[in-house]
C-alpha cells in the first residue's frame, strides 16, 4: 500500500542522476555554468533547502500527501497527519479535519479530482478546436484537405453514417458529432446514453461496465463542469464518488483523444512508420531553426508547407542561412515526427535547454506543456518566443494568433519573424556534441494492421493474437506520459522497456515517454537485437521482413503524441472485441512513470476505468488518505478491472507490471513464465 516512505524511494531515483540522456545533462551543465536556472536547477534547490524541514517529501509534506486544502476562503487548511515532518506537525492544529469539517479522505479525493478537470479540459478544448477545423474544412473555409479519405470513411462507418453522402458531408457529420460529444447538446437530454464515440469505439462489454458503474461520460464539458461543481466547498464529501467522477472524466478525456486522433488522420494523413532522428542536436547551426512545441499539428502543417516554397527559400538565402530547419518538441514533435519525419529535439524538459544552444531563431508554442522556463531562458538568448493561442499567453512574447481559416497567413508571418531573427543570432552557439539517435515512428493502428495483413490478409489480428497466445508476445506495455525532474529523467521508461522486452513483452510508446525511449536508442531497429527476448525478436524480425524492411521492427513502437494514446486503446479494444472479452482481461499494461501534467493524470484514470493497470513512478498526492490509496490501487481491480500501481523504482515496477501480465494470461488460460 503506497505511503509516505515512497517519497524516499522517489528521491533515491533522482539522486542517482538527473537524466539518462548525456546531451540533456551536457546542456544542463552548460546552462547552470552560465548562472541560469533550468527546471532541473529548481528541482535541485528543494533538495538543498536549508534545515530540510520536510525531509520526507523534499517539498511540502501536506501538499505532497494531498492533505492541504485551498478550495475556499476559510482556508488554507492542513490536516494533521502522523507522517508529516515534526517541525510542521507540531505547528499544525491537531485535528483530523479542515475548518469546514472535511476529512483527509475528502480532501485528498477532491484534490485528486480537480487534477482531472484540468486534464480533461485541456484535451477537450483542443478536440473542440480540431473538430471546428474539420468542420470549416468540410465547408471549404480553410485550405486544409480531407487528406485520408479511407480514414474518413472508416470513422463515418464506425459512427453509423452510411449511405451516399459526399466526403464533405461525412466530414461535417463527424465534426458535429465530435462537437456534441465534447460540449453535449443543449436540448435537455444531451447524450443521455453516453458519448457517441464511447459507444462506437469501446468494446461493448467495456461500455456495459462503464454504464453499470455510472461512469459512462455524457460529454466532456458537462462531466468536467460536474467535477468542478463537486469539488466546490460544501459539495461532495464521499471519496468514493470523487474517485468515480475522476474515472468518468478520465474516460471523457480518453474519448477526446480518440476523436482528436481520428480528425488529425483525416486532415493530415494517417501515419505509417518512417525513419527520423531524436536528440537535442538535430538543430543546425547553418540553418534557420524553428522549434515547434505544443499539441496542435494543424498549426505546424502550414508552417512546414510554406517553409519549402520558393518564396521563403529565397528569403532564407537573403539572410545568409542555408535553409529552414524545423524541429519538434513534445507532442507537436511527435505529430510532425510521424507525419513529416521532422526530427524531435526534445520533450517537456528539453525546451529551455534547446533555446540555450543559441541557434533557435523562433520557438513557436500553441497550447500545453510549454513551461514558463522556456520564456525565461529566451530572455537570455536571441530566440523569439511566438505564442499563438488565446489560452496560452506569455508576457513579452510575440503573439501571432492562429486561426484555421487564416493558417497560411499565420505561417507566413511566423516564418518571416524567424527568418528576420536569424541575423540577431549571437556569434557563439553551444550545441551538444552527442549525435541524435536513429528512430522509427508512425505506428498507427492502420500501419500495424497493414504489416500484420502481410501475414494474414483475411484476418490481420490473427497473427498478433496467435503470437500472444503462443507467448511469443508475452504481453504489451504502453509507456506514456511526461518526463519529470523528480526522477532521473528518461531513465524510468528505458529501464521498464528493457526489463519487459527481455521477457518478450512488446513495448508501445507515445508522447514524451516515447521520446525518452528514442533518446535511449530504443526506437531504433538495432535495439531489437540488443533488448528483445528471443521469442519477441523472432516476431519483430518476421514482421520487419513482411513489411519489406529487410530488418526487424524496432522493439518499441512509437504510436505518436499523447493524443495518440487512443491508438493503443483502439488496438487493445480491437483485440478485446476479437476475443469477445474486456480490456481488463488482456495482458496489456501501462506505465506513465514520469507523469507531470494534469492530462497525464486524467488519461491515466481513463485507462484505469477502461481496465488497464497504470503504473506511475512519481508519487501522486494521495498518500495522505489510506481510503483513496486503497480505492485506486486495490478496490478498483474489482470495479473496473484496472488499477493504479505506484512505485518510484522502475525495476520493481517492471516486475509488478510483468506480474499483472502473467495474472491476466493465467485468467485467459495462456502459458505463463
Amino acid at each position: 500500500m503506497p505511503n509516505i516512505d515512497l517519497f524516499a524511494k522517489e528521491k533515491e531515483q533522482r539522486s542517482k542522476l538527473r537524466t539518462s540522456d548525456p546531451a540533456t545533462q551536457y546542456m544542463i551543465d552548460y546552462v547552470e555554468g552560465l548562472g541560469m536556472d533550468t527546471v532541473f536547477t529548481r528541482q535541485k534547490r528543494y533538495e538543498e533547502s536549508f534545515m530540510g524541514i520536510f525531509p520526507k517529501t523534499g517539498r511540502c509534506d501536506f501538499g505532497s500527501m494531498g492533505i492541504c486544502c485551498r478550495q475556499c476562503l476559510m482556508g488554507p487548511c492542513r490536516v494533521w497527519h502522523k507522517d508529516v515532518g515534526l517541525p510542521l506537525r507540531i505547528n499544525t492544529p491537531n485535528q483530523s479535519r479542515g475548518t469546514c469539517g472535511a476529512t483527509a479522505d475528502t480532501i485528498v479525493a477532491r484534490n485528486w479530482l480537480v487534477f482531472h478537470a484540468r486534464g480533461c479540459a485541456a484535451h477537450s478544448t483542443t478536440c473542440k478546436d480540431t473538430a471546428e477545423t474539420l468542420l470549416k474544412t468540410a465547408r471549404g473555409e480553410t485550405t486544409y484537405e480531407l487528406k485520408d479519405k479511407a480514414k474518413l470513411k472508416a470513422v463515418a462507418g464506425k459512427l453509423g453514417f452510411n449511405g451516399g453522402a459526399s466526403d464533405a458531408e461525412l466530414a461535417e457529420k463527424i465534426a458535429l458529432t465530435v462537437l456534441s460529444d465534447v460540449m453535449g447538446k443543449p436540448d435537455g437530454e444531451s447524450n443521455k446514453d453516453g458519448m457517441a464515440f464511447a459507444n462506437a469505439y469501446l468494446p461493448p462489454k467495456v461500455v456495459a461496465r462503464l454504464k453499470e458503474l455510472e461512469i459512462m461520460p455524457t460529454s466532456s464539458f458537462e462531466d468536467l463542469a460536474d467535477a468542478d461543481h463537486q469539488a466546490a466547498i460544501g459539495m461532495m464529501a464521499d471519496p468514493y464518488y470523487f474517485i468515480m467522477q475522476s474515472l468518468k472524466v478520465g474516460v471523457a478525456d480518453m474519448m477526446a483523444l480518440a476523436m482528436t486522433t481520428e480528425i488529425h488522420d483525416i486532415l493530415l494523413g494517417t501515419p505509417s512508420p518512417v525513419p527520423t532522428k531524436i536528440g537535442i542536436n538535430v538543430v543546425d547551426e547553418k540553418q534557420i531553426n524553428i522549434a515547434m512545441h505544443g499539441h496542435i499539428p494543424t498549426l505546424c502543417e502550414k508552417l512546414i508547407e510554406h517553409s519549402q516554397t520558393k518564396e521563403f527559400q529565397d528569403k532564407v538565402a537573403l539572410v545568409g542561412a542555408e535553409g529552414i530547419n524545423i524541429v519538434g518538441l513534445c507532442c507537436t514533435g511527435a505529430e510532425v515526427l510521424q507525419r513529416h519525419q521532422i526530427p524531435l529535439a526534445g520533450n517537456n524538459l528539453q525546451e529551455d535547454l534547446l533555446i540555450a544552444t543559441g541557434v533557435v531563431d523562433a520557438f513557436i508554442m500553441d497550447v500545453q506543456c510549454s513551461y514558463p522556463s522556456t520564456h525565461n531562458m529566451a530572455e537570455n538568448f536571441h530566440t523569439k518566443v511566438i505564442t499563438t493561442m488565446k489560452d496560452a499567453r506569455v508576457p513579452m512574447a510575440d503573439h501571432i494568433p492562429f486561426k484555421a481559416e487564416k493558417a497560411d497567413e499565420w505561417a507566413k508571418q511566423a516564418l518571416e519573424l524567424a527568418i528576420n531573427n536569424f541575423a540577431k543570432r549571437p556569434g557563439k552557439s553551444h550545441i551538444p556534441p552527442h549525435e541524435p539517435k536513429d528512430a522509427i515512428a508512425g505506428f498507427s493502428v492502420e500501419a500495424c494492421v497493414n504489416v500484420l495483413s502481410k501475414l494474414d490478409a483475411e484476418n490481420p489480428l490473427k497473427p498478433l493474437i496467435d503470437n500472444i497466445v503462443a507467448g511469443n508476445i508475452y504481453g504489451v506495455c504502453l509507456v506514456a506520459g511526461c518526463t519529470s525532474p523528480k526522477l532521473a529523467t528518461d531513465e524510468a521508461y528505458n529501464v521498464i522497456a528493457k526489463e519487459l522486452l527481455s521477457k518478450n513483452v512488446l513495448i508501445v510508446g507515445t508522447g514524451c515517454a516515447a521520446g525518452s525511449c528514442g533518446r535511449g536508442g530504443m526506437l531504433d531497429i538495432k535495439a531489437t537485437e540488443q533488448y528483445a527476448g528471443e521469442k519477441l525478436k523472432a516476431v519483430l524480425q518476421a514482421l520487419g521482413e513482411a513489411a519489406g524492411l529487410g530488418a526487424p521492427l524496432p522493439p518499441v513502437w512509437h504510436l505518436g503524441s499523447c493524443v495518440d494514446n487512443s491508438r493503443a486503446v483502439s488496438l487493445t479494444s480491437a483485440l478485446a472485441v476479437a476475443l469477445d472479452t474486456e480490456i481488463k482481461d488482456l495482458p496489456v499494461v501501462v506505465s506513465a512513470a514520469e507523469a507531470v501534467t494534469e492530462k497525464s493524470v486524467s488519461i491515466g484514470s481513463g485507462a484505469v476505468a477502461l481496465g488497464f493497470p497504470v503504473h506511475i513512478a512519481v508519487v501522486p498526492p494521495i498518500v495522505g488518505s489510506a481510503t483513496v490509496v486503497k480505492l485506486l490501487t486495490e478496490d478498483m481491480k474489482e470495479l473496473t478491472g484496472g488499477c493504479y500501481i505506484v512505485d518510484p523504482d522502475p525495476k520493481t515496477a517492471a516486475k509488478t507490471l510483468l506480474d499483472h501480465i502473467t495474472q491476466r494470461r493465467k485468467g485467459l488460460g495462456l502459458s505463463v513464465l
Copy 2:
C-alpha cells in the same frame, strides 16, 4: 495596496468576538461544552497551534498569500517571499519561481482563476438543472406549473420571443435558450456574439465594454473549460489574461444567476415582501423539524406542499407531534423565506449548531455550502441527513435522489423519513433562549417597481432616480455572500450596513449576508427609525406608506438568495439604461465582506467586470503578487470601472465604500457630502 499586514487586521476582527449573534454564540458554547467541534472550534485551533510558525496569517503563509502551487505532479512548489514567516522562509528554496518556471504573479493569478471555475460550475450546473425542470414542465412532464405568467412573458419579451406562442411554447424557448447559454451550441459557432441573456439583460454600454475587453462570455461551460485549460501546467503564464478570464467566467456566472432567478420566478412565483422570522430558535420542540439547506428551491417546493396535506398531517399526529415545522438555511432558506414566509434558521455557519439543538428530525441538503461539519454533528444526534443530488454525496447519509419528474414521490419519501425519525429524538433538547428576529423579505425587482409605481405609475424608476439625484438616497450598497469564521461572524455586514445607512445609503442584501442582517435585526421595519439617516428615513417612510404598510420599509431590503444577486444587477442595469450610462458610473457598491465559497469569488468578479466596486473583508490569497493585487484593486478601475477593495475592518471599509459612492456622484454631477 493590500499586503501581508492585512492578515493581522483580519485576526483582530475575529479576536473581538466569534459572532455578533448571541444565539449562535450560545450554541457554540454548548457544543464545545459537549466536547464536539464546530467550524468555529477548528478555526480557533489555528490560532492556538503550538509555536505559531505562521504568526502572520494564522495558517500557511504560502497558501494564504497564493504562492503555493499544486497544479502538477512536479510540485507542490512554494515561491520564496520576504513576508513569509522566518522558520518557513529559511526552509524554502530561495527562488522566485516554481519548478516549471512560473512566477509568483502567474501562480497567484492562476490559483485565483481556478476559484472562479468552481464557482461558475456550481451556478451553471444548477442553472442547467433548473432549465431542464422548466423544459420538462413546459412539456407536461412534471407537476410544477408556470406559476407567474407575467414573468414568463416578460422574460420571453426581453429575449425577443414575440408573436402568438402559447405559454408552454414560450417556456420551452426560454429553457432551450438558457441551456445553450450554459452549454453553448455544438455547431462550430456556438454563441459567437455572446450569451443571449447577457446581450438581452445587460445595459448596451456594458455589453459593448465587455466585448471590447474580450470578456463577453460565450457560454458558461465553454468559458470554464477554457479557464481549466488555461490553468493547466505549461499553459497561460500572463497574469493579465488569467484575471481577464476570471472576469469572463464571473460574468458567465452572473448570467447563470440571472437565468436561474427568472426560471425560479416563472415556476415558483415572483416574491413580494412578506414578514417572517430569523434565528436559530425558529425550530419548535413540539413539531417535527425539517431543515432545508442548499440552493434548489424547486426541491423544497414539493416538500412544503405535501407537508400540509391531510395524509401527512395524519401521520404527524400518529407519532405524537404537533405538526411539521420546515425551517430554511442558507440560500434554500432565503428562497422559501421570500416565497413561503418559512423562517430562516441560519446560514452556512449555523448548520451544525442547528442539529445540536437535538430537535432537527431531518436535515435535507441538495447542493452547495453544506459543510461536512453538519454530517459530523449529525452523527452525535438523532438527525437524519438526507442527500438528494448526485454531485453532493456524503458517506453514511440517507440518499433519496431528487428528480423534477418525480418530485412528489421524492417529497413523500423525505417526509416519511423525517416523521419516522421523530420518535428517535433524545429526551433532551437544547434550543437557545434568544427569540428570533422579525424580518421582511421578498424585495424582487418587480416588488420594488410595484411600490415605486404607487408614486409614479407612468415611470416607476423616476421616484428612485429623483431621490438619488436629490441625495435622499445617497447611494446603494449590496451586501452579499457568505459568513466566515475568519471574522467576527455576522458583524461585518451589520457594521457596514449601519455605517452606510446613517449616511443615507440604502442597503440591499442577498444570501447569507442578508441573513446576517436579519440576525442583526436590520430586516425589521423598526430598524429604519434606529439606523437610517434622516433623508433616507423619509424615503422609506414614504415608500412604506405608498405600499399601504402604515410603516416605513425596512432599511435593508432582502432581495433573496445568492442567485438573486441578479435582482440587484437587474435593478442597477435598469437605472443605467434609464440614465443612458454604465453601471460603473452609478453610486452603487457591493460588500461581500465574509466571502467563503468559490461562488462568492466568481460572482464578485462578475460584479467587478460589470463595473461595481466589490469589498471583501476576508483577505483573499492574492497578496503574494503585487501585480495581481494592483490589477484587481487599481488597474481594473480603468478597464471595467469596477474594482476589488480588500479591508478586514468593516468601519474603514464602509468609509471606502462611501468614498466610491461620493466619487461616482461627483462624476454624475450630483451633490456630495
